[in-house]
């Protein structure tokens, strides 16, 4: 992929962060819904997977399974509740709030990486 060479892992990371923001927003929206189970994206696991893909896992036998396509958010995991509630809801608003804030911060730092990459490219193109 050409984009990968330009933006490296940051393009994938930004998409994953945006998806994760959506999942965490769903958890916060359903903080009072009975039987709702809080979920999350396994961010570091997916990043590892993409890194492995970029290094190129060699398929030495026909029976080897292909690595999942990058950009796939994969299966959402269910969060293990710290304090289970009577109505079957596993959302802990404080945990979700903290995760959401952290995710937003990381999204912004990924954006700064992309931003400086684009600015560098423009500079190189202009030859200034």
């Amino acid at each position: 992929m050409e984009n990968d060479k330009l933006f490296g892992i940051h393009a994938f990371a930004a998409r994953l962060r945006a998806d994760r923001a959506g999942v965490l927003a769903s958890n916060l929206a359903n903080a009072d819904t009975p039987d709702y189970k809080a979920r999350d994206i396994d961010f570091s696991g997916l990043m590892e997977q993409v890194r492995g893909e970029r290094l190129g896992l060699a398929k030495t036998a026909t029976a080897h399974l292909p690595v999942a396509a990058s950009g796939d958010t994969g299966e959402l995991a269910y969060r293990v509740p710290l304090q289970p509630s009577l109505d079957g809801n596993t959302v802990d608003a404080h945990v979700e709030h903290a995760e959401f804030a952290e995710n937003a911060f990381h999204y912004q730092s990924t954006l700064s990486f992309l931003d400086s990459r684009i600015k560098g490219l423009i500079k190189a193109l202009r030859g200034e």
């Binding site: 930004a14 945006a18 923001a21 929206a29 994206i41 959402l76």
Partner: protein, 135 residues
């Protein structure tokens, strides 16, 4: 899925919580309402929330109000023969509203409302920053 879905999700939660605040308001407003028989006495009402489209791999799950249920707790009976609504035995039936439960419910709804507004604000900031990448 993009950041735009967050507006739908958080928006659905905000409207659900405002409906919850509405039921709390009417419960508290009618806490002292009385009636001449148990059937027509005011009953505390509460919304029932349900997640929209909660499948195994759905990332954006909003919330909707399935309906409003009335509490089936017995209406408190008071002996007050001078009351214009009193029945033959001189009884009036009050509302089965628990002001303490309603107030805690109100605080919970208020907190959830605030949280979702904050989520909306954060999503908006992130989108604006995304738009200005490379400028």
């Amino acid at each position: 899925m993009s950041l735009l879905h967050i507006f739908d999700v958080a928006g659905s939660a905000v409207s659900a919580q405002s409906l919850r605040l509405n039921t709390t308001a009417s419960n508290l407003a009618n806490a002292d309402s009385v009636a001449g028989d148990a059937e027509s006495a005011y009953r505390a009402r509460h919304p029932v929330f349900q997640a929209i489209g909660q499948t195994r791999d759905a990332a954006a799950v909003g919330v909707r109000t399935l309906g409003i249920v009335e509490s089936d707790a017995p209406a408190p009976v008071r002996h007050d023969p001078d009351h214009p609504l009193a029945n033959e035995q001189g009884q009036v039936f009050g509302a089965n509203v628990s002001p303490v439960a309603e107030l805690t419910d109100m605080i919970s709804a208020q907190r959830s409302y605030q949280t979702n507004i904050e989520v909306l604000n954060t999503a908006k900031t992130l989108m604006l920053r995304t738009l200005s990448v490379g400028e």
